[in-house]
Symmetry: C2
Subunit: 162 residues, 2 copies
């Protein structure tokens, strides 16, 4: 049995006690941008219930063009007004460089990706970079509450980056 | 008090009973790509524990270049081999078109985004499109288990797209 099949069995159990449907717009008007890291259970970390917040995640929790696309849809079509950014300690993104990663792909496939890998040496600095990308972007209308945090994978705490 | 402050208070409670840290590589070797929709608590839907799977999310759960970036990092640097795609019923992405969304941004800001909004009229068809993008992409090495689902927000069930 694949892991996917195992997780589908879990879903059958989940559906047994499921009550829905909830409304489409996030009830708390918040969008979270977090790293894809397996240790970040964003709903539990923030005490979110289903239906309360958009959750956008990618490698690093970096604000990329795709993050801007998702945030623009979140704010312009579904009414969110606050943004929470979450990077974390012990992140894989600090263990390599864009150049090395792209060279390894080139060596392996004969093709060099046209995209940036978005590796970063320092989580706090990259949170600030992601905030700066939102601040500078013309497509995100609501910027009064854009706050960034580094989740500590040893303690479970969110530490704000100022 | 902002919603962000309210969620930070939840985090303090979460940290009180937190036990960590877990290892960086996902224990189950799976990466999930899901919509950012607030009703999708991916860990609960799949019965995932912290540390088990990468979770990538954006508007639609669409495989974009940023999704490929995240999946490439997930598989090449952190050893995942299975991919689970999750779209859902009652998705905001079927309520608009790229042209209309970009025109509304142009009217509002004077600038037209260079990116696609990735709206789609049919969730099943878009799951197939996302699978096709992975299949066709040279940077994703492990494609033996790439399966796509539509989560039913009324029942909590994952229905496989074949």
């Amino acid at each position: 049995m694949s892991v996917t099949d195992e997780l589908l069995a879990h879903n059958a159990t989940y559906a047994e006690s499921f009550t829905g449907p909830l409304p489409l717009p996030p009830a708390k008007g918040v969008a979270v941008v977090a790293c894809m890291d397996a240790r970040l259970d964003v709903y539990r970390i923030l005490g979110l219930n289903e239906g309360e917040a958009h959750v956008i995640r990618n490698a690093g929790g970096v604000v990329t063009d795709d993050g801007i696309r998702s945030l623009a849809i979140s704010q312009r079509l579904l009414g969110t007004t606050e943004i929470i950014l979450i990077h974390h300690t012990d992140c894989g993104m600090v263990t390599f460089t864009d150049d090395d990663f792209k060279k390894s792909i080139l060596d392996d496939t004969g093709l060099r990706p046209t995209w940036s890998a978005e590796a970063f040496p320092d989580a706090d600095a990259d949170v600030r970079q992601s905030i700066a990308r939102i601040t500078a972007n013309p497509f995100i209308p609501n910027k009064d509450s854009v706050r960034g945090f580094v989740f500590d994978v040893a303690t479970g705490k969110l530490n704000e980056v100022v």
